[in-house]
């Protein structure tokens, strides 16, 4: 075979289309990479919020001697509905329900953001 023929064949090498799945996978990863700093900031804000609220609630409960009160009530009434009801009402007298709700939102929010981030990362992999 002469070189001209080889050149001609090399100039007409077969090509194939790339899978559209690969294209969209790359775009999803890139999109995620762009969003990642936002996810990280959100995650750390939620964790920080959780720690602050948790510390605040803990301080309030210690100041109000909530642990001692719980212990006394338990020795007097044993584990009953009355005991649980008293503990809950005493707890919400010391701590505002909005603060507790905020604690839960921070806690589950940070878990959600973390999981969502990891889930997306794995999802992008082919």
């Amino acid at each position: 075979m002469n070189m001209e023929k080889i050149d001609k064949q090399l100039n007409n090498l077969n090509t194939t289309e790339m899978s559209p799945r690969l294209h969209s996978s790359i775009m999803r990863i890139v999109n995620h990479k762009k969003m990642q700093p936002m996810f990280l900031i959100l995650f750390f804000l939620l964790v920080f919020n959780f720690i602050i609220i948790f510390w605040h609630i803990n301080t309030k409960l210690v100041d109000a001697e909530f642990g001692v009160m719980m212990n006394d009530l338990f020795t007097d009434f044993d584990l009953s509905f009355y005991f649980i009801g008293t503990i809950i009402s005493s707890f919400f007298e010391i701590i505002s329900p909005a603060l507790v709700l905020s604690l839960f939102i921070s806690f589950f929010g940070s878990i959600y953001v973390y999981k969502k981030n990891i889930y997306l990362f794995n999802f992008y992999k082919i």
Partner: protein, 183 residues
């Protein structure tokens, strides 16, 4: 694929600033060319897909290095080539660790094209020449690169590129002559 592989400067500047639409434009523009180049060098479809993915993620991560005044084509192909070299290094280390392990499905690109009914003897012969020659030949013929661009992409002097292409063609001729009886 050999048509003018150039992108408008405005798009490059936008991509540099993290604009995803512009990045997708670049991806669409080069994905097929890089895919075909890598597939012929790697000879494994699944690994080629991984390399393409890694290459374009590197392109996005290093987007600030894009110089709109310069040729982005050689820059992207350099990233793809370096990613392939990393792949070969990892593969070599893996093979040294695990001898005789058959954990990969090696696909001969000619067979891949064959399934599409597109194969030719030149495809098979290309897989038998030296890797360095093959890379230079693919960039020259398949991608329509100039000698200077190939030299830039592979970080090899222009004269060496010319020698690689010439020797590669010679090897191809020998293979086609000896194995496929083509004179």
């Amino acid at each position: 694929m050999k048509d003018s592989l150039t992108i408008d400067k405005k798009i490059l500047i936008k991509a540099q600033n993290g604009d995803l639409e512009s990045f997708e434009y670049i991806l669409t523009f080069y994905e097929k060319a890089i895919f075909n180049y890598c597939l012929r060098v790697i000879k494994n479809l699944s690994d080629t897909e991984d390399i393409i993915q890694e290459t374009f993620i590197k392109v996005y991560t290093n987007r600030r290095s894009i110089d709109p005044e310069k040729n982005i084509k050689t820059w992207i192909f350099t990233i793809a080539t370096n990613t392939m070299y990393d792949y070969f290094r990892k593969k070599k280390r893996k093979n040294e660790r695990i001898l005789n392990q058959e954990d990969e499905t090696i696909i001969d690109p000619s067979a891949y094209y064959n399934s599409e009914g597109l194969t030719s003897d030149i495809d098979s012969a290309l897989n038998k020449i030296n890797k360095e020659y093959k890379e230079a030949i693919l960039l020259f013929y398949q991608q329509g690169f100039e000698y200077k661009e190939i030299a830039e992409t592979l970080s090899i002097p222009i004269n060496t590129i010319k020698t690689h292409i010439s020797r590669g063609r010679e090897q191809l001729r020998e293979i086609l002559k000896n194995e496929y009886g083509k004179n």
